[in-house]
Symmetry: C2
């Protein structure tokens, strides 16, 4: 029993293929009688229009692809949930793919946009060089989110990482921090921006520039621990540490606690992202919340515009507001 086609449905229903197609697409130019016959035939044959044939004729797929290196982070999955919901509201399906930081895999997925497998793409953390992002975004419907490349043609949605880090550093200073340090992730764009915000805030407060430790290759719990250990080993302990992510902050807190220090009494620690881990840490982490879900929704809205109004390629970026979440790891 091969797949039924529009021809089969037409024959079964005793009408022409044109009429079947009109029923499928909700055209009003069909009599009630025909519509019912067609629907009955569709049911009997359990017919589904073949996607590739439809896409070919219509020249669009109603699918978008969201790309990230990996998916286990709460920010990524919330952003993509936002994209997915917004897409669904507009009749699109949003698919997700993880590149694992593999350039070749990423190229292959971007090719899905070039070859019309999907109509648009949301780019979370591209591995390819900036100029490639620019080239792709110049021709195709692409919107960046969170980890945004500086590209002329590209458009992106994110928080102001620099300002958010500035604000958090300011909070550390306002609550008594004088010797600040940062555990940064320079390998990520957002990490570099957060570092810049940290440095600026320290400088603006007239404090001596704090030590900045950067995790090379990985920035997880263990990196946080290792860098905290370095901090301890270096002596001249800071009284506040700003970590580029909550996971690293959790590692940092753990290492400091194991060394007998009390957080925040002896040393304050702040994270970033308001991950699930922020609440699971002891003490619970002060952190910066990104409106991840909303960012996803906004990203899709922009993407939709690019997909449907091909001329309207807005450039630049949109910043959504971040929020300081003060918990127990810093002095309230």
């Amino acid at each position: 029993m091969a797949r039924a086609t529009v021809q089969d449905v037409a024959k079964t229903a005793g009408v022409s293929v044109g009429t079947v197609s009109r029923v499928l697409n909700g055209s009003p130019a069909v009599s009630t009688a025909s519509r019912e016959k067609v629907n009955e035939a569709i049911r009997r044959l359990s017919y589904r229009p073949l996607a590739s044939a439809r896409d070919l004729r219509r020249d669009r797929t109603m699918r978008v692809l969201a790309l990230a290196k990996n998916l286990e982070s709460l920010v990524v999955s919330e952003v993509f949930r936002g994209v997915g919901d917004a897409a669904a509201d507009s009749g699109y399906v949003s698919l997700i793919a993880a590149t694992a930081g593999d350039l070749e895999r990423e190229q292959q997925l971007v090719d899905m946009l070039r070859n019309g497998s999907v109509d648009g793409m949301v780019l979370f953390s591209p591995t390819m060089p900036d100029e490639d992002v620019d080239a792709v975004a110049g021709q195709l419907s692409v919107v960046q989110v969170c980890e945004i490349v500086d590209a002329d043609a590209a458009f992106g949605v994110s928080i102001d990482d620099r300002q958010a880090a500035y604000d958090m550093t300011r909070h550390l200073i306002d609550t008594g921090g004088r010797r600040l340090a940062m555990i940064a992730h320079r390998s990520a764009r957002s990490g570099r921006l957060r570092e810049a915000g940290f440095r600026q805030a320290v400088a603006d407060a007239g404090l001596p520039p704090g030590r900045v430790l950067s995790g090379e290759g990985g920035f997880g719990f263990h990196a946080g621990r290792r860098l905290a250990r370095e901090l301890l080993a270096a002596g001249d302990l800071p009284d506040a540490v700003f970590c580029g992510t909550d996971i690293a902050a959790a590692g940092c807190v753990r290492e400091l606690t194991d060394a007998g220090l009390r957080v925040p009494h002896d040393i304050a620690v702040a994270g970033f992202d308001d991950s699930a881990q922020a609440e699971m840490c002891v003490p619970e982490l002060t952190t910066v919340r990104q409106p991840a879900y909303e960012m996803g929704r906004v990203a899709f809205a922009e993407l939709l515009e690019r997909m449907t109004v091909p001329g309207a390629h807005r450039r630049g970026r949109v910043f959504l507001p971040h929020e300081l979440v003060v918990r127990d790891s810093t002095k309230g």
Copy 2:
């Protein structure tokens, strides 16, 4: 500048469309001269074969879809990483979609299999009723993973959750546990199996049946805390608690610790899944590791067989070996 077609390439290269297509598909029946002319034309026009046209003609897409409720869990993302890698090895692209437990969304995504948007599907935790899974799996290329529905036609890859829970419970008993309790998640299939394994192990050891608390609606950190609080409130404290997931175990440990109990000295706690949180917890969690990546690879291998050998619809399920990871939250 509209998209170039195979016709344009043929014209530019001064050959026929047949030859262009042969070059595109690596057919040996092309002279070196023609091949070079075609490749040159492809480069000049930056031509990409349109996916929908190709898919229509070939009657397959070389794409598979992996479905789960949500993606932030390490198990899901590792499974899907395995699927993705195995797919790439066979020239397939694997896409991911999250249903958020929304039945309508899930139906829409399953429709992508029915309408030929993808060639196969990996189902992690279906929301639809078992008989629907059965119906879909009976006709289409579907493989289940981890959260496996009992369906005649369906095929699935998982660990033996029941046995794994049995083994972990046995470990709790072997290390001195006599009054056992479980924090379970009955809303998930795997949760029910783990509960059954727990009960069996307790019974086999001749111990009194332990108290089992089940989290309704959500089974995260907070649910773990709440259920641990219930345990405390009930008095007659157990000396070992088996939690259905690491996240719940982390919540449980936190609540017990806050109540002044020492883990594992006063009460042992075990988790399940070997999530990232298992190592971040204080004390680090004893847990069960699932070979998630490998499960993804095996799932794709099975899927490939279903996609390419349509007759060979293997039923039943494959169990992959689990592993007890003993850390500090139980008495070594």
